[in-house]
Amino acid sequence: MNDADTLPKSLAAGQRKYGNRKVAMRQKTLGIWRSYAWQDSYEQVRYLGLGLISLGLERGDKGCIIGDNDPQYFWAQLAIQAGGGVAVGIFTDSAPDEIQYVVHHSDAVFVFAKDQEQCDKLLEIRDQVPAVRCVIYWDDKGLWSYEEPWLRSFEEVQHLGRALDTEQPDLFERSVEQGCGEDLAVFCYTSGTTGLPKGAMISHGNLISGCDLTMQVDPRQDTDEYMSFLPPAWITENVLGLAVHLRTGMVVNFPEAPETVQPNIREVAPQSLLFSARLWENMVALVQVKLIESTWLNRLLYRIFMPVGYKVAGLRFEERKAAGLPLRLLHTLGEYAVFQPLRDKLGLVNVKSAYSSGAALNPDVIRFFRAIGVNIKQLYGSTEAQVHTLHVGDDVRFETVGIPPPGMEIRIADDGEILVKGPTVVRGYYKDPEATESAFIIDQEGQRWYRTGDAGYIDPAGHLIYLDRVKEMLTLSSGEKYSPQYIEGRLKFSPYIRNVMTVGGEDTPFVTALINVDFDNVGRWAERRGLAYTTFVDLSQKPEVYELIREDVQRVNRALPPAARVHKFVLLHKEFDADEGELTRTRKLKRGLLGERYGAMIAAMYGGDDRVAVQAAVKYRDGREGVIQTTVRVATLDDEADGIMEGRTS
């Protein structure tokens, strides 16, 4: 790493260090991976930057960029920054009025728009953005016959840059030297869930410290490969992609087209990857589907060795023990027969750091990847402060989002909100002092914190547990808060639980839950244990099943502060049913209606009863229907010093 304090200075340092001797970027074009050396990359930026200067770019000016992940995107960004400007990324799927908002609000004087699609959108809003001097495109397909001087090609601007270069040969270098870490580098517009997007003002110093802090816990080398596919308008791609590339020399690869990301990842086999939880889940589903289509031999090997993978990974990560020699030998065989080939197919063959961000990842998905030798870690961050926390090394816990990297600090405010402090925290929102004031606070010691709007909790091991957005948290009569989403989401990770509704609010002292067991999975579990049952009603009320579910509830409770734990639950005698209006068609809970319909049970849980009589409609195997009288049990969990007392279910 170098001591440059801006991104363009880092680029210049890289060019001096590697010149023509090392690949900086690669893109698959016309079916072939085409590489650009550091020298090429530097010259592209140099002439483009000079071109912008000759078109009138001044220090502090803003330039928007809207386009896919291409080398040209990064070059455009660096060219704007080299001229002292601020790059403002716009998502490619933005509608013209959204583009108009960002271009206008950021006071942009230039816009880079990749192709015909984006140029057309800009032409549509041209009258509303009079400050934009020109739009610069880098893919001319379909634009051949546009006779529109407002649009200019990348090459045309670089040509202007070359002309300026012959007049003032050291202008570019001087302009780069003038920059400093305090200068603003990018604006990232966050799609606010409420109101208009806000432009977070991110300085070069923010980006460089964000990169360097992460590199301390998860170092990258200049031999590493990276695939750029996250939207470049997003902060993550700016830090973990561009900044890391410039600081460590890591090679950045660009996909041939947005649709070819997956095969291109396989060809590149990157060392680090960040996917959303959904994408990791899709990968597991893909493996299952492909396996069914595969040969009997592959299926046999998978059946033999996957349990070995699960066993070894379970010992290593969950029990923190080493596997015995026979198991290790089997595992080595499995590595050659199944794990390595699978990782290869998924493009994970070289991966050292696999991250998941966004929603919580199902532990089963994490276990699957661990079994084939990929340790997925959670990463939690924001546009305003970049990486807040992440899992480091083998210290990965399902229920947490990890620990802050060195230099970052996390604090939980009195109302449960997660606060973040560190060199990555941005200066504020562009032209929005009100939003800035409410999102950033200064404490008594004069320290500046970013209010994430997220609620969380730090566990005894120092890991952060992310619960939910603060405004989604509910308050109990004791004043304590809890997160319905967190509890329900985590409980549903259990294969035995189909659905859950938590109950608890300002007139109740603790949290309770109505649980639907998963009839198929619990039924299979019962059969394996030789437990006889007849109907859903019967199965759901077995004391053994209550014990089974109790363990799941306890596991979730353990990650929560005592006041936010589930104290009582019932296993319902029937499933929540969309046909009865209990769920929406997208299978979301209709809380109000459920609260009324199961009011007797809820009352029993808070009233201290341990049984409730219900009438239940049942459907017999021969198709007859009837109504039976039954009782539903109430299970109570007592958490004395994290210990669990014998329940009162029988």
Partner: protein, 260 residues
């Protein structure tokens, strides 16, 4: 581009199957570099017309002149070599081959290396292969089908297969492109994409395009001129605007009752 030069001249073509007159004395011309659409109700003889141009059907009467050659006297493969390529209503691709192989196969009319040279695959034959692959890759890029480059065509969704078929026609580097209902069976978005590709082909390479299509809205948007067939006869010819208001055309499409 010599816009006024007639590129394809159809002169009094007649074709019948037994007692059915498929085409009766049809004449029209396509100027170089224009998009000419042939429209008409079902069974009007549109596809028969294209088949005559390819000489899949042999007209009983009349001439079809393309750059001075009478196509009715040439075999379909000779016509292809002259620079006439087409796509089919029901898609005719090698379903067991990949997109790439389908497009490479279309390059055969431009391949010069002999059997023995190709067997050695060194020197000229190798260089030639690279040239053709480059031409094909440019088409793949142009039509945005990179993600299905290696996919077996038979397994692709319908809209994509249509795109691959257009790609194969383009790989022949024709000067006249015949498109038989390139947008049938597509959803609105796919149709718009296809229309954009057709316009781009036209604009980029100045090819003459003869297009049969059912979707009137799209035809009117992209065609320079329109020829209307009904029961094997040409009932109108003109700009989309003129055709839209043509009494005879409206009657043919909507029936006597509606037109009144």
């Amino acid at each position: 581009m010599a816009a006024d030069r007639t590129h394809l001249e159809v002169q009094s073509v007649s074709l019948s199957f037994g007692g059915i007159q498929a085409l009766a004395d049809v004449s029209f011309g396509a100027r170089e570099g224009e998009i000419l659409a042939i429209i008409g109700p079902n069974g009007a003889g549109k596809t028969s017309m294209l088949n005559c141009i390819n000489n899949f059907y042999h007209p009983e009467k009349g001439q079809i002149l393309f750059e001075g050659h009478d196509l009715t006297r040439l075999s379909p493969d000779k016509i292809a070599q002259l620079g006439v390529a087409r796509t089919f209503q029901n898609i005719a691709l090698y379903t067991g081959l990949s997109t790439l192989d389908n497009l490479m196969a279309a390059r055969h009319i431009h391949m010069r290396a002999g059997f023995l040279q190709s067997l050695v695959y060194w020197g000229p034959a190798h260089r030639e292969d690279i040239t053709h692959r480059l031409a094909v890759e440019e088409i793949i890029d142009f039509l945005e089908i990179e993600h299905v480059r290696k996919a077996i065509v038979g397994a692709l969704p319908y809209g994509l297969r249509k795109r691959v078929e257009l790609g194969r026609a383009l790989a022949m580097e024709p000067r006249l492109l015949l498109l038989d209902e390139p947008m049938t069976g597509m959803n609105q978005e796919e149709k718009e994409d296809m229309a954009r590709f057709i316009l781009d082909v036209h604009e980029r390479h100045g090819k003459t395009i003869l297009l049969i299509e059912h979707d009137m809205g799209l035809v009117m948007d992209i065609a320079d001129r329109v020829v209307v067939l009904d029961f094997g006869q040409k009932i109108a010819e003109g700009t989309p605007e003129a055709i839209r208001h043509d009494e005879v055309v409206i009657r043919a499409y909507l029936g006597e009752e509606m037109a009144r």
